[in-house]
């Protein structure tokens, strides 16, 4: 089982959109996939039309009183399940801090279902916290959406330095450009100016597209609502690259 985390310290950069679309594409590709919505805002849960509720809340889950297995819901798509968000996840830090191995608890919680899934996708809340430390320990690949600005690149480099300092099995780290606006000079320039040798930034990028924006209305992955659209194409290319890194 591989674990992929959509992570960025900032909100509104396209983490959830990437997590949802990549999880769908992985499942369509035959990977038995579980998407865990770790964000109490429950955007991913909402997009799959599932109630943002885990019986007993995050507490029962994190303390191991309720198995992850019991909380999993099937999405409408074959091979793709969801572990829903719950409002109580906003106290996840405190709950994790209360366990024996506070930074490895998430990893431990996924262990019992590791035989059932080929891929777990973590949709992370925007923060740097005990939750994100758990994500770093659990993930094989941290996938970071970047809106093309100089600042976001610098933040990404800081994250890379941080991850390099982690002890234990460090995750791979890749960024991709998100919400790229072709009409913005800055976006185009920044992407062109990128040193060729930067292997930690993927070639595929996701353009700013109505199809993605409209996911809140369609409540479907773009590959389902608009299979031939630009956005669907972009997530398809992104999945191809991500799959390559994971394999």
């Amino acid at each position: 089982m591989k674990t992929l985390a959509a992570y960025n310290i900032k909100g509104g950069v396209g983490k959830t959109s990437a997590a949802v679309n990549l999880a769908y594409l992985a499942a369509r590709d035959g990977w038995r996939t579980l998407l865990w919505d770790l964000d109490p805002q429950a955007a991913a849960t909402y997009l799959f039309r599932i109630r943002p509720r885990v019986k007993g809340g995050g507490k029962a889950l994190v303390r191991g009183r309720r198995s992850v297995d019991d909380a999993i819901k099937a999405t409408d798509f074959a091979g793709l399940d969801l572990l829903p968000a719950d409002f109580s996840y906003r106290h996840m830090d405190l709950l994790l801090d209360d366990t024996k191995r506070p930074t490895r608890q998430l990893r431990a919680l996924l262990k019992p279902v590791s035989g059932e899934y080929d891929l777990v996708v973590l949709d992370c809340p925007p923060s740097i916290s005990l939750v994100s430390e758990n994500v770093f320990q659990a993930a094989d690949l941290l996938l970071v959406p970047l809106i093309p600005t100089t600042l976001s690149l610098r933040t990404f480099d800081q994250l890379a330095a941080f991850v390099a300092d982690l002890d234990g099995g460090r995750p791979d780290l890749r960024a991709f450009f998100s919400m790229v606006d072709g009409r913005k000079r800055l976006h185009a320039e920044l992407m062109r100016a990128l040193p060729r040798g930067r292997s930690d930034i993927l070639t595929a990028f996701v353009p700013s597209a109505t199809d993605v924006e409209r996911m809140g209305l369609t409540r479907k992955p773009v590959a389902v609502s608009k299979p031939r659209g630009r956005a669907a194409q972009a997530y398809g290319d992104l999945w191809d690259e991500v799959r390559e890194v994971l394999s």
Partner: protein
């Protein structure tokens, strides 16, 4: 994983179309039509019909006996519980899946060696056209699915339709919706809970039945039946087994076909020898000769099969020199292929066909061409007692004569005796009390295993020497290969010595008072 609840719809498939059935269910149950599913099926329409499933099992139903159903759907292999139909494991397998080692690790673990050396073959192939209806909650989230399907089985006579099925498929975390929907479906007129699985229905259509083949003899005889009738039943049963294995042997599907084919030949020869006079002596003599020929014709291929099956243990035995044995393996493979061609020719020959067809007529149930022989009218109960006693006592006598200095040939003869006794006990098991009979068989089996490993080691040793010489004369070998062969010979020597050392103990147990009392109890007479 959740288990679908299955129903069947009354009436033949063609009376009402799938679309009509679906739209009816759609209406009465208030469900939604899942067009996305239709689309994916339309896409595959030109390739035939919707989903194609091949159910896989070995010729002797080892998957089924282990309690499972194995199905291939494109690149997916699904293992389900035979009774409940619950899906246990789904795994991806892109290539050919024939033998245990071709299986994905999760499946291999679960089947736990059940396949042995046997090959998986499709036992039934079903293609289906399906329509999917879904139940939604107020968020338009799917909470249960209804799959209506028309399956058909590919058979030699052409496609045969199965009963139209309706399956209520639960979604993880939403089971209660499926349960409620299943209850509503079950209440509809013309809908019945499915009495059998698709697997069972499809296999039945092919004319086979799980468990319909086993190499074990299971005859039901009565003591007062005439030896003539009893012998013919034995012969017919063996002939059926021989014929069942014919095409698999010809095609070389797996090594067990030839193995079982030869067992049938050997048992037939043994019965011809041990039940003399059941048929006219000239008939018996003729078929003894013909079956001897058939046995001999199949021997070289079987010997090479055994060799190749044992090869992994050879390489393990020589450790670091394993790579040096590779030329030997290649050589054996080539020889096996050559011998198999010859075997196929023999089984395609007029002589074989004549043997098979004439024998079939001779021992026919209703109009046998062979009349009762001089001993044919004696009741089989008495005949069996006498034969078993005689062969067992001969085995005891010869076994007692074996000493540490006896030549290997003496042990080989003893092994033949043991085999004859084993066959008699198997043919006539139904005439005796189960408990002492099976105890006697397992005692005998212990002895046979010992004699078998002794002889196998001897034969293999002899053959490695022979092969090494042939490799040498063909100029195809290196010193390293010869050295490895030498080490192999040494391990065979070891095995043989070990079997020899254990012989006395095994035989003493067989010949002990307990087992003799048992044999006396079974067959009477003086022990």
């Amino acid at each position: 994983m959740p288990t679908p609840k299955e129903f069947t719809l009354a009436g033949p498939q063609h009376a009402v179309t799938l679309a009509e059935s679906t739209s009816h269910l759609h209406g009465v149950l208030g469900l939604h039509h899942d067009a996305s599913h239709d689309a994916s099926h339309d896409a595959s329409h030109d390739a035939g019909h919707g989903d194609a499933i091949a159910f896989l099992d070995t010729f002797d139903w080892r998957v089924h006996s282990a309690g499972f159903v194995l199905a291939r759907l494109g690149d997916a292999l699904e293992l389900s519980d035979r009774e409940t139909g619950a899906l246990l494991i789904r795994a991806t397998a892109t290539g050919r899946v024939e033998f245990d080692e071709d299986l994905p690790a999760v499946l291999r673990d679960r089947l736990d060696g059940a396949l042995g050396v046997r090959a998986l073959r499709p036992v039934a192939a079903v293609t289906s056209v399906v329509a999917v209806l879904t139940e939604h909650n107020e968020d338009a989230k799917t909470v249960a699915r209804l799959v209506v399907s028309d399956g058909q089985v590919d058979t030699a006579r052409g496609p045969v339709p199965l009963t139209r099925r309706v399956a209520v498929v639960p979604l993880r975390g939403y089971d209660r919706f499926a349960a409620a929907l299943a209850a509503r479906v079950g209440d509809l007129p013309g809908v019945e809970p499915a009495g059998s699985t698709v697997f069972a229905e499809a296999v039945a259509v092919t004319g086979r039945r799980p468990g319909d083949y086993s190499s074990k003899m299971a005859l039901t005889l009565r003591r007062e039946t005439s030896t003539y009738d009893a012998a013919r039943l034995v012969y017919r049963t063996l002939l059926a087994s021989l014929q069942a294995n014919e095409s698999g042997t010809m095609a070389g599907v797996d090594t067990e076909f030839l193995h079982d084919f030869r067992v049938a030949v050997r048992r037939t020869r043994s019965a011809l020898k041990e039940l003399p006079g059941a048929l006219p002596p000239d008939v018996e003599q003729h078929f003894r000769d013909e079956f001897r020929w058939l046995g001999q014709t199949t021997t070289p291929t079987r010997d090479l099969d055994v060799y190749l099956l044992d090869f992994p243990s050879f390489t393990a035995a020589v450790g670091s020199a394993a790579a040096d044995l590779r030329p030997l393996h290649r050589f054996l493979r080539a020889e096996q292929r050559r011998e198999h061609v010859a075997l196929r020719r023999a089984l395609g020959s007029a002589r074989y066909r004549r043997l098979r067809d004439e024998w079939s007529l001779a021992v026919d149930a209703d109009a046998p061409t062979a009349a009762p022989g001089p001993a044919g009218l004696a009741p089989i109960g008495r005949s069996a007692d006498i034969r078993i006693r005689k062969v067992a006592q001969r085995l005891l006598r010869d076994g007692h004569r074996i000493t540490a200095d006896s030549p290997a040939g003496a042990l080989h003869d003893l092994r033949k005796r043991a085999k004859e006794l084993r066959y008699l006990l198997e043919f006539f098991g139904s005439l005796y009390d189960r408990k002492p009979h099976s105890a006697a068989v397992s005692e005998l089996k212990g002895l046979q295993d010992n004699l078998g490993s002794y002889q196998d080691a001897q034969v293999q040793r002899h053959e490695v020497e022979g092969f090494a010489e042939r490799l040498l004369s063909a100029g195809e070998t290196s010193a390293a290969t010869l050295l490895a062969a030498g080490r192999l010979v040494a391990t065979f020597d070891d095995r043989q010595r070990q079997a020899r050392a254990e012989f006395a103990e095994r035989f003493a147990s067989f010949a002990g008072p307990r087992n003799r009392r048992r044999l006396a109890e079974l067959t009477g007479g003086d022990w």
